[in-house]
């Protein structure tokens, strides 16, 4: 974690975002992960995404559980609020945080162990509530921090470093989120920044639960031959279904897209994403078809990536609750307390 302070040298030449901040202002402490760990690439993508979105760091809450992946919030956005909770239970903490202050940007970073083993129940229920947050799973098929046991996302037939072969079918966060009514479901690869950064941006801007399942190889325990979560394997079987561009609210959609091929989707704050199909037969707004497509490719050993499903029409958790649009934490006490007279009046019933 932020054990080691990273020297912060601002180069004169660094570009500044709309807030006048440089990318350095979105960085965090020095990573203590293994050299080459996929998670560090995700960290870099997060830094870039927030920088490009002009979000003030202190308006972001970084939520995590326990694991190598869950440590990463210490390595980005050091000026943001961090909450490193207990193993597998970050979704509930995020739910409470969201309930209290609907305006804070919530970014969850979790691992496959954290979200799909111990945290599976909480993860599913957060999807179901359509909690407004960007939820990244740094998925490596193993428990990194406890030294390489298979996680629930390990594929059948994948071999552990010590030779053991996983026999149990994997739990796929993407298919699960689809089945549970998730409103933004994406998959990517830590090695593919070009895809990952716009995805994270869109996920942050989506109003509701935005899952980004990122294949993020563990170089120490799961990057060998016969692992299906290694860099080599992922690069080989990686299949882009859709290409996504993120367009900020003020900007014009600049690139020219052919009709029918490109589809702009408006997000709640006026920003848009422009989707281009890479694969002919993919429909990002049809849940059933999307599931089929993913499953069909999965049978071929292929990993479908990109924004796989989006529904901007569903209300988020606050919409369902009809919460005051002012964050609850900003309501003055006077508004919350019914007062002495009301107390007297209501006690009539108790006589």
């Amino acid at each position: 974690m932020t054990y080691i302070a990273k020297p912060k040298i601002v180069h004169g030449g660094l570009s500044r975002n709309g807030l006048g901040l440089t990318v350095r202002d979105y960085e965090g402490g020095m990573s203590t992960l293994c050299a080459g760990c996929g998670h560090d690439s995700v960290t870099a993508a997060i830094v870039q995404a927030f920088f490009e979105l002009d979000i003030p760091p202190h308006r972001v809450a970084k939520m995590s559980g326990i694991g190598c992946s869950s440590k990463t919030p210490a390595y980005f956005l050091s000026a943001s609020h961090g909450f490193n909770s207990v193993h597998g239970r970050m979704p509930s903490v995020a739910t409470g945080a969201a309930a209290a202050n609907r305006e804070l940007h919530l970014l969850g970073v979790s691992g496959d162990g954290d979200s799909l083993s111990i945290g599976l129940g909480q993860f599913c229920h957060a999807v179901r509530r359509n909690l407004d947050m960007c939820y990244i799973i740094e998925n490596n098929g193993v428990y990194g921090l406890t030294k390489g046991q298979f996680s629930a996302s390990a594929d059948v037939g994948s071999k552990a470093k010590k030779g053991e072969i996983n026999q149990q079918p994997p739990i796929d966060a993407v298919q699960l989120a689809m089945a549970l009514g998730g409103t933004f479901v994406a998959r990517s690869f830590s090695g593919d920044k070009a895809q990952l950064i716009p995805l994270i941006k869109a996920a942050i801007k989506h109003e509701g639960f935005a899952l980004v399942d990122v294949l993020s190889p563990c170089v120490t325990f799961n990057d060998h031959e016969d692992s299906t979560k290694s860099y080599a394997y992922t690069r080989q079987f990686f299949h882009r279904a859709v290409h996504l561009d993120y367009v900020p609210p003020a900007d014009e959609i600049k690139a020219a897209y052919d009709e029918g091929e490109a589809m702009p989707i408006q997000l709640h704050d006026g920003s848009r994403i422009v989707l281009r199909k890479v694969s002919e037969d993919y429909n990002v707004q049809n849940r059933g078809a999307a599931i089929d497509y993913i499953r069909a490719h999965q049978r071929k050993g292929e990993i479908v990536t990109g924004l796989l499903y989006i529904d901007e029409g569903e209300p988020d958790m606050h919409g369902l609750n009809r919460t005051n649009s002012t964050p609850l934490t900003e309501l003055p006490y006077e508004r919350l307390c019914p007062g002495a007279d009301a107390l007297t009046a209501l006690q009539q019933r108790f006589r």
Binding site: R59, M63, V86, R89, A99, L336
Partner: protein
């Protein structure tokens, strides 16, 4: 002659035997409230099974002009409406008492007793004759026995009527039928028996300024008044009605009439681990948040409670205790989660625990719990029990000081942060072991990293012994600060020189007060301390030290309160003796007398 035997006016117990799911609850409440409105102190205890429909259930009303509102253990009037338990109910009647049964069907001649009065009223027959609808026939039987009792016990019929009118204020159509049923019962009684019985109600003026309310509703209301905005829960008996109460009043007071927008967020979580996670997340983010639960929930929450302790996050947890261990008896009462609450979670921890004794205190301590949680930046557990939480208690009217403003504790707002050089989350700036906190999003300088792993006083991750110890040692000191901030014990001195005292908590209160009076009448004088909070305020140990002998009365098998006193004070353990009541039924004074003065207890029982 026992203290209670002195007068049978306004001093007896009615027990109503029914089957659950047959609508007897409102009839029983009506009966109790009628007595209350006559100015006579009264209390009602519901004994119900852990199922929804078809099993025996009892409601016990103690009428006590002297204001003794514990369970007495006697049954002076039994209303035996449940054929299934008739035998048992018959046996339960205290000699000299009265049993009322439904004489629609012939009573087994075997089931008789010569030492009590047995009165038959054909409730079913009368209702079947008067009402045509099947459901009404069942429901009206209940009203019918209320009528019979009103006549037998001399309950003011005008009071009954006005209560019925209030009950059905929104469905006035139902009033006549209900009154008819009541009158059926009353008339039958008047025609067939000498009314009133020697054992009866006589108007008094002892309930003015009081209400009848259950502790859970009062606690839920307290959360509204404390300004809580986020409530998370997973349903569990007997805590569910806390959230019901919160919801009722939030819906009444916190919904915008025009837009329907809500100034609160209630989350029915997927389980208790999620409930407490939600509470911690919301509290961290600046809301006042709480969760009601019961024993199994506390066990499930214990990992997160330890997190809250170490990361120093406020949280308010209501544990409405039921009978343990494990699932135990979910609809029975006990005080057996004290150790589990005080030291919840692995590692060195010590939590703030509050012990209300009745509904008015539930309201008060629920507000107080939020203030303490914010001030001390730590989870606060409010330990109610089923008896307090789910039964209707007569208690002082709730009142509200309009000048109250929440104590949010040491929070640096945007202005303060703007002026601050550096903000360090876990630094003991003021020497009271309580650091400053910030709410997320308020100011760039307020950002910090919350973690349950080792951190130093600046909030940085650490694995250094020295830095770690600095933090846990401060937490230990914070616990001492807590002892000075929590509610002080209630101390009542006998007025006579004595070196003996009773110490207790929560719902034991009425039983102990009654016992103390009985003992005093026998010349045995006792001081009394009711502890309201853990860690113990200095007054607790000081009080103990004034005495040579302490009786510690509590509702669990293992003497958990005594354990806490033994661990946390220097009072010699060998001078404490336990009074343990753990049957699952509310405590009565006999449990106390049996330990302190068995001979007096015997006299009482006779």
């Amino acid at each position: 002659m026992s203290a209670r035997a002195k007068s049978r006016i306004n001093d007896f117990v009615i027990r109503l035997a029914n089957v659950n799911g047959t609508g007897s609850a409102s009839a029983n409440t009506l009966l109790m409230k009628s007595i209350f409105r006559m100015g006579v102190p009264v209390t009602g205890k519901n004994f119900f099974p852990s199922n929804i429909q078809g099993l025996p259930t009892w409601y016990e009303i103690r009428v006590s002009g002297d204001g003794y509102l514990a369970r007495s253990g006697d049954v002076d009037v039994m209303v035996a409406m449940n054929a299934q338990t008739y035998q048992k109910d018959l046996n339960r009647v205290t000699p000299g008492g009265v049993l009322i049964y439904d004489s629609t069907w012939p009573r087994d001649r075997q089931l008789a007793r010569s030492d009590i009065t047995i009165l038959g009223v054909p409730f079913a027959r009368m209702c079947n004759e008067h009402f045509s609808n099947a459901r009404a026939r069942i429901l009206m039987k209940n009203m019918c026995y209320v009528g019979a009792l009103a006549a037998l016990l001399d309950i003011d019929m005008d009071v009954v009527r006005s209560l019925v009118e209030e009950m059905f204020a929104s469905k006035t159509k139902l009033i006549p039928a209900n009154m008819e049923a009541i009158e059926l019962g009353a008339n039958y009684a008047k025609e067939h028996f000498d009314c009133p019985l020697p054992l009866r109600v006589a108007p008094l003026d002892k309930t003015a300024g009081h209400i009848m309310i259950d502790g859970n509703t009062a606690a839920g209301l307290g959360c509204v008044y404390a300004g809580a905005t986020v409530g998370a829960w997973y349903p569990i008996t007997p805590s569910t009605t806390i959230m019901d109460g919160f919801k009722t009043y939030c819906e009444r007071f916190r919904v915008d009439k025009d837009t329907g927008e809500r100034d609160f967020f209630i989350i029915q979580a997927e389980d208790e681990l999620a409930s407490i996670g939600i509470v911690l997340g919301a509290s961290w983010n600046g809301a006042r948040a709480f969760t009601p639960t019961s024993g199994p929930g506390i066990s499930l929450m214990s990992e997160f409670i330890g997190f809250g302790y170490f990361a120093e996050l406020p949280a308010v947890i209501f544990d409405v205790q039921r009978v343990g261990p494990s699932t135990g008896m979910p609809t029975r009462t006990q005080q057996a989660d004290m150790l589990a609450a005080a030291y919840a979670s692995h590692g060195d921890t010590r939590h703030v625990v509050l012990f209300p004794s009745e509904p008015q205190e539930c309201f008060e301590l629920s507000v107080r719990a939020f203030d303490l949680a914010d001030r001390l930046q730590t989870p606060v557990i409010v330990l109610l029990d089923l008896d307090i939480g789910m039964n209707d208690w007569m208690c002082p009217e709730l009142d509200w000081d309009e000048t109250y403003r929440p104590d949010r504790g040491k929070v640096l707002d945007a202005d303060a942060l703007e002026k601050t050089e550096n903000f360090y989350r876990y630094l003991d700036v003021d020497g009271d072991a309580i650091p400053y906190r910030t709410y997320p999003g308020v100011h760039p300088k307020g950002a910090y990293f919350v973690r349950g792993s080792g951190h130093d006083k600046y909030g940085k991750y650490t694995e250094e012994s020295k830095d770690y110890k600095e933090v846990v040692d401060r937490l230990n000191r914070k616990s001492q600060t807590a002892a000075t901030l929590v509610p002080k014990p209630v101390i009542e001195r006998s007025g006579q020189p004595t070196k003996t005292a009773i110490v207790s908590v929560g719902s034991c209160d009425y039983a102990i007060r009654e016992a103390i009076d009985i003992l005093a009448a026998k010349g045995i004088h006792m001081n009394y301390m009711r502890i309201k909070a853990f860690p113990f305020s200095p007054e607790v140990e000081a009080f103990l030290n004034e005495h040579e002998r302490i009786y510690v009365a509590e509702q669990n098998r293992d003497a958990q309160l005594k354990h806490l006193l033994t661990i946390e004070t220097d009072y010699p353990k060998e001078r404490m003796e336990s009074i343990l009541h753990y049957s699952g039924l509310p405590m009565h004074c006999r449990s106390v007398l049996e330990v302190i003065a068995p001979e007096v207890a015997k006299g009482e029982a006779a």
